[in-house]
Symmetry: C2
Subunit: 336 residues, 2 copies
DNA sequence: CTGTTAGCGCTTTCAC
DNA sequence: GTGAAAGCGCTAACAG
């Protein structure tokens, strides 16, 4: 009395026997090839399949074919709404092509990340999409196991030879946001709440912001990419004596924390401080006030990542522009 | 020049050859059994493995063993923060036991849900955890394919013979929340923003609320389980002439939408309306004002679900209590 | 302690 | 149009 098979599982041989054909023929009808089958024979086979409730064993198929129809996704934090949305779009894109998605969280832990890559590679996945915690984990470099699975790096602004790299134009986004604050709302100084990480390059968001603020001095606070991080950064930034009148958060999550800090301190947004954020998840739309942000084209990224694996395309490097979406947290009053 | 294998992939036979042993011995050292191996032989084998960069083919292993070490999770909407958190906890629990997690979204579509169950079952997963869109999709019933994979139903308040069913005590949660509004804050009437779905039973949240409000009349509005749904429900509920002074939302997402509606209408929370919600995701904690809610024990649920599969335990039915977490949206002023 | 080997369920070449 | 059979990489009897 449990959920496991009562009668033993039916195999292709059972179907063949019942239909009075060879196992090869069953294969031909299941896969629609590679050899033709007389239609009445095919019907007998289909009847047998239905009758027995036969389902092909994809493991065996994968062993034979050397391809599993499964993609792996490794992200630093699957509960982060940005990665949740990304994961969902990837799953959608994969599913549309008949491939399944296996997910794993590295918890921003480099060692775990390496271990996951090794583990997943052993599962003969058709490809691995990874958003590395400290840049692209290249096989054979720095403790990352040598694996031969095709990989695509989801957050690498720099190309990696032999691999596909996809990223959003973070610098453009930060510049767009900062310029909006400066030119539309006349802010002279724009503070930055920046995430902490250990990327081997200058974060595009920071760069974009820096380019926009030029050499005007402006406060920067560095906190984790979490709501709590943003909250603490916000407390720090907003409770000082000369508090900024505008701030750019490097992620939605941080902006949400920032907003909470402002509210608790009785600081009005956008009247007292304008806040804008990079990412553009749905959560930002429903924050109060709704956040003006630079939105990543998540669906396009997902689509491109899945496609390069499924179509076995040549590796490429692609950076997607982001879209400025104006809401109220910057001081604008969009209609609707 | 691409990410795929340049030198062909190394198999157990290569290792055996290099180490000068049989393939069986390689198996013994890789798996630590079932037969003992002389330590110097084992070392030779390990050296060969390292040298060649050998990784066991888990597909072949799965075919032989009849077990893949992969769990499947199907949820209605993977980008819903509740399911995102649940997925993450399930992945954590699974990962701790060396099993991987495959995810799929049914988009609340019954037909797709059935298809996914069939597809995933064909992949020989060790188990399937499903949060059904319209109750537990029992194999062989109502278009759900007959599969023999063990399943656990993640949102079934009713037991299903032969399967494990796990759920949160939604009724208790709703009652707790409603009583809090009534007894602590003295609200005579508590409105309900209820999600729309097609469960074959009375939703526990609605039931718990109903029990608590007794036969006092109170407005109910039914909208989708989304931020937008909550927003629209909120507009409807709060812009009328005699607007409720207290409302219970059946999910965090809806409460967040509700909050936005209140803010837009210039209605103060909790001064003008108290709002409480069922779910307890992190997003609720960072809403403004922070939402008082009934929190599901997501980690316990995840742990239990994974364990019953991995340990091949007998099916059971288990309902987890929820925890009342008091924040400010109800009118309380918790310290800290 | 180590080696030989059958076979997991499937695909596909090759023969008929 | 159909069937026989090899073999994907691995495990675990069983034999030495």
């Amino acid at each position: 009395m449990n959920g496991r098979p009562s009668r033993k599982v039916v195999t292709r041989a059972d179907v063949a026997r019942l239909a009075g054909v060879s196992t090869a023929v069953v294969s031909y009808v299941v896969n629609g090839g590679p050899r033709p089958v007389a239609s009445h024979t095919a019907n007998r086979v289909r009847d047998a399949i239905d009758l027995l409730g036969y389902r092909p064993n994809l493991t065996a198929r994968a062993l034979k074919l050397g391809t599993t129809g499964v993609l792996g996704l490794v992200v630093p934090d699957a509960s982060n709404p940005f990665y949740a949305e990304l994961g969902m779009e990837i799953e959608r894109a994969a599913s549309a092509r008949g491939v399944a998605l296996l997910v794993a969280s590295s918890n921003s832990d480099l060692e775990l990340e390496s271990r996951l890559i090794g583990d997943l590679a052993g599962r003969q996945l058709d490809g691995l999409l990874v958003s590395g915690t400290a840049g692209p984990p290249v096989p054979g470099v720095g403790g990352v196991p040598r694996v031969s699975t095709p990989m695509v790096y989801l957050d690498s602004p720099v190309p990696v030879p032999g691999y596909t790299t996809i990223t959003s134009n973070a610098q453009q986004g930060a510049t767009l946001l900062t310029h909006h604050l400066q030119r539309v709302h006349g802010h002279r100084s724009v503070a930055l709440v920046m995430g902490t990480h250990s990327l081997p390059w200058r974060d595009g968001r920071e760069l974009g912001w820096q380019l926009a603020v030029r050499n005007r001095t402006a406060p920067v606070v560095r906190v984790p990419f979490t709501r709590q991080g943003g909250y603490e950064g916000g407390l720090q930034l907003l409770s000082g004596t000369n508090r900024p009148r505008a701030v750019l958060a490097s992620s939605d999550l941080q902006a949400v924390g920032l907003l909470r800090a402002a509210h608790e301190l009785g600081i009005r947004v956008p009247d007292d401080v304008a806040i804008v954020a990079y990412d553009g998840t749905e959560e930002a739309e429903y924050a109060w006030p709704p956040l003006t942000c630079a939105r990543q084209r998540i669906r396009d990224i997902a689509e491109a990542a899945v496609q390069v694996i499924v179509d076995r395309a040549e590796p490429f490097h692609r950076v997607f522009d982001v879209d400025l979406v104006i809401r109220r947290s910057c001081g604008c009053t969009p209609t609707g």
